[in-house]
Subunit: 552 residues, 2 copies
Amino acid sequence: MNKISALQKARAAYAPKLPAALANGAAVTINEGGATTAVADVEKVQALFKTTFGSPVLTFAPGKGEKSAARNVGVILSGGQAPGGHNVIAGLYDGLKSLNADNRLYGFLKGPDGLVKGEMVELDDAIIDAHRNTGGFDMIGSGRTKLETEEQFEAARANCEKAAISALVIIGGDDSNTNACVLAEYFKANNIPIQVIGCPKTIDGDLKNEWIEASFGFDTACRVYSELIGNIGRDANSAKKYWHFIKLMGRSASHIALECALQVQPNITIISEEVAAKKQTLGEIVDYMASVVAARAANKMNFGIALIPEGLVEFIPEIKVLIAELNDLLAANADAVEKMDKNEKVAFAAGKLSAESAKVFASLPAGIQMQLCNDRDPHGNVQVSLIETEKMLAEMVGTKLKAMKAEGNYSGKFSTQTHFFGYEGRCAAPSNYDADYCYSLGFNAAALIGAGCTGYMSSVRNTIKPASEWIAGGIPITMMLNMERRHGADKPVIRKALVELDGAPYKHFVANREAWAIETSYVYPGPIQYFGPSEVCDLVTKTLTLEKGGNI
Amino acid sequence: MNKISALQKARAAYAPKLPAALANGAAVTINEGGATTAVADVEKVQALFKTTFGSPVLTFAPGKGEKSAARNVGVILSGGQAPGGHNVIAGLYDGLKSLNADNRLYGFLKGPDGLVKGEMVELDDAIIDAHRNTGGFDMIGSGRTKLETEEQFEAARANCEKAAISALVIIGGDDSNTNACVLAEYFKANNIPIQVIGCPKTIDGDLKNEWIEASFGFDTACRVYSELIGNIGRDANSAKKYWHFIKLMGRSASHIALECALQVQPNITIISEEVAAKKQTLGEIVDYMASVVAARAANKMNFGIALIPEGLVEFIPEIKVLIAELNDLLAANADAVEKMDKNEKVAFAAGKLSAESAKVFASLPAGIQMQLCNDRDPHGNVQVSLIETEKMLAEMVGTKLKAMKAEGNYSGKFSTQTHFFGYEGRCAAPSNYDADYCYSLGFNAAALIGAGCTGYMSSVRNTIKPASEWIAGGIPITMMLNMERRHGADKPVIRKALVELDGAPYKHFVANREAWAIETSYVYPGPIQYFGPSEVCDLVTKTLTLEKGGNI
């Protein structure tokens, strides 16, 4: 047994809160809604999900604690780590035990791979207790294998049958839940008696909709990042000499950057969805940032905080085009490019791009040009995730300010520090919100299993209220699906939730960003607290609070 | 009034604990020790500090709460931010008010500059209350101006006289406290009735000795870094695919890296003092790191955590020589170098270095060569603090592993992520330890002022015990001084406390590092807690615990 910290010891004893519906255990009373449909492309979705399509939304009320026959269940962690994964499993375990003390839970190892390869471990009290309220996915590991092929489904079936497993819980993001739904349909259509239940996870916060109001881990990760951004803001405001450019995890959506902005009130926050909607150029983004720096400098504040979402470059139309051209260009001339040194590759690319892209390319810092031409993945593509956007923007803003200084439009000092926060928050121990929410999602998944459901996502709602008022139930995954073009084919997928430009969180940000830019209005959230007064420990994200009509 | 977070609101009410000696206020009973001396170079120190040398060590016991005549006091924050600075000022304020409710406290703005320029603000209840238990130095700002010249001392005198200030408290690191001592001597020798008291601050932890067992901020900063390193460790152990190379603040001493290693038990920690003592080459450091990576890979653990102190490169003898040669070389050929492009400078340097240094230079990654030749400060010197040591080592270890693979000595995967933690912790809200310690240091400084002392450092000891058992008193700064060569002249300075290779903290690390390297023994300290059980909130650093003979 590994040594554990004082905090882990104390936190292990925390009993996560549950919705009232689950207070008597996972044997619940079920309220069925009417038949459901899909968010779009209804006919196509229905054709793909013949047996699971149209299932009703379920809402749970407390049951009488009836016991059911003993059974075996498997659980899988899929995709990137998010705070609270262990609590989903602990909730599932406790929920299953409440149905029948002889129920057994198996954890498939290293993600979906474990299901396909039949690698699993039985989870017992000792393992579960050692992981209650902890961060990380190290209890059973995770993986990024996608469950998509019939071969995989058959292997999954065989491995489940071997261990007499009659239900699977897949904890993952939008893709993993889509695949859970496909697997559920496969099993049901083929009369294989294995239920499949999904649980919504992504720290990026992009798996949410009317029924799934939050994906777990988002709250904790944003609190860790906000703690750090607040600390850095306090440092900036004390030293008064640096602009900190901070890149934040969030590849396809800017929810994390937006939530951190609402928590800390930094001077600049770029929202990728706004950039895309307004078709902003890189030059326009740089101009905006430089204008804020200059405005603050005019007030003798040569310091500030700028937040940049990780995925930004992919939302800038001209950069998307440039990257696509570079990918084609370097692939088409692979043999010649192979023989060039790093500088020659840059010169070669610069000479062959379209006029428009050549201009964009020329505007980039030398280090970024170098990276775009040299750091390529095994398929020969630019590795967008490796682009140090925070350094690129810091350098470009500096260049812009020099030009403004020459024109007499700026007379401040501009020194920068850059940061990237991602791994710092993905495995933090869950906040009370995530500890409670995750435990409830897992316990509720046991209720869905007990109710005989398949193709459902565990849903816990009304989470801006105390847990006793949370609404537990199940949502047929098919009702969240639409068809999207992926790798040249139409596929059923859960629509990714991007930052909505007519949503309350974004609107609150826009209403305040000018004041936050010019003034120094930093709020210092501090570290996540687990033991203090409720108003400090039982927080809900600003995003969810605003989405539900609350004030922040 | 700015918006404050829920945590700030709740934390503002925290009443820091005080040593028993200060329980009845700052009018204490004084126990005098015998005459003191200096740690070395006694005669030279004595000659420089004619009037303040030899003062006794003072230990305080509770007084009877006598009031003294009203007076004005000034306070200065000097140097880099460290958690708890505001609490020193709050403690000083409360201590002064306990002596006489009409005592006034002025904060000099932006560090020693404010004293020289006469820029100050009176600190009242509203300002103090708004900053209790908060991080940052933004209450009055800080600065790095050194108080060294008679001109500055005279300006300080004039500005103090203008505001009828008869005592100054300087909160700073080793240099600032040395200068406080010089200023105290200047005032006393010239019969200027202004007392000067120092308070020991540095998050680096390098201002400590027999009498000053900790400099404030070190505890909090190490806890923030350890929280993040622990989170990253949990991520590494969940994803099992990255080696994280983490650089930690700490330019001249590796106390932070060592404390974080003791808290988290990472696989690799480089201690600069060991590198210097063993005259390790960069190649040897890389070989050691690669050997750990390979040993873990042999156990199928292609992931890990490596901690690297910020100042490492300056402790590697061959790199020190290389940098000195580069500085000379580029300065001697400034005109020619000016006209070269970045690559030409690298080629030029490579051709002109001594054979030994040329070999070292050639072993460095191209990006680092580029930086060493191109990023130079206004004096033409290499900017050591900008060297991305964590990336350099990650790249060099990767190169070494490729060679080992070719030789058949390694067959793992090696992917890296790099991080640098510094600004994340400097302005965190102080832990209970730092909140209590800082408040006590400030309150105790008021007692020293009340006792008529000058040239003393505020000393609070026995802090591994509950605060009621802490020992408060004053230490003549002269007794910590020795003479050191600085910029070509002998100067009195407080000896910097480096990691002692025969000290208990380092020995504990060495006794465990092989196990920590091969196994995955990460401990997850989690975020600083302010409200929980005492064993979670009232922690003492592992370093101090071990130094005082305790177990961790």
